[in-house]
Amino acid sequence: MIGGLALYLTMSVMRTAIFSAKFEYLDEMREFAGQAAQDAGLSVEQVYAVKLAVDEACTNIIEHAYGVEIGGDIECTCMADRTCIKIILRDHGKQFDPTLAPDPDLTLELENRPIGGLGVFLMKTLMDEIHYEALGESGNLLTMVKCRGKAK
């Protein structure tokens, strides 16, 4: 019996783009991340989830790290292998940890529903993992992961 040789071929692709931190570029940010998710073999629903999560994360960076009037840059890196996509968002704004936001109470009736908090909640729910890291003097690093195999 001849022993078998297992050969693992791991291919991972990394793409980085820098976006101006303005709402008018949310579409481009979504497309960039969505394309990477598609190339990683995620399903149609999962690609939508990635686009939505990136949108919500970038919206928070624009609103809280930079300020809508001020702007700045958002650096987006997408790393995909055969099972997962990892998206890293880096900015140079004020330190702001979106993972600290409490989940909104979704059982409240119409009049008492909170207006805020939905975006971060969506981001956390749609992605498999989210990690936040404050960067040195200023800036934030947000890492989000979504994997093919999971049901979400």
Binding site: F23, E24, L26, D27, R30, V44, E45, Y48, K51, L52, D55, E56, T59, I62, L106, T107, L110, E111, R113, I115, L118, G119, F121, L122, T125, L126
Partner: protein
Amino acid sequence: MEITKQEFKHCDLIAVKGRVDSFTASQLAEAFEASHKNNQFKIVLDMQDLNYMSSAGFRALLVAQRTCKRYNRGEVILSSVPKQIKESFELTGFTPLFKFFDNTTEAVGSF
């Protein structure tokens, strides 16, 4: 994103096409506000050609629904919500806040 409006005797029919996010959501909010200024609080929102909606859009819907339902003068009814966006309604817990119809004829007729 494109918004069109048809005014009927009993309600306004607003159709939203394309993508609603933090850049475009204010246009949707303005469409609702224009109806309110005209004293129209019974509104059907046709979402058939809506491809994408973020929390900014949900927020606009929440505000509009509150205004319409206040004093029992009307409500926002949703028609032809695409599957992906209906899932977002589920995730955000927004499903119980609205009535859903499969087409605008039924939705408009329900007022």
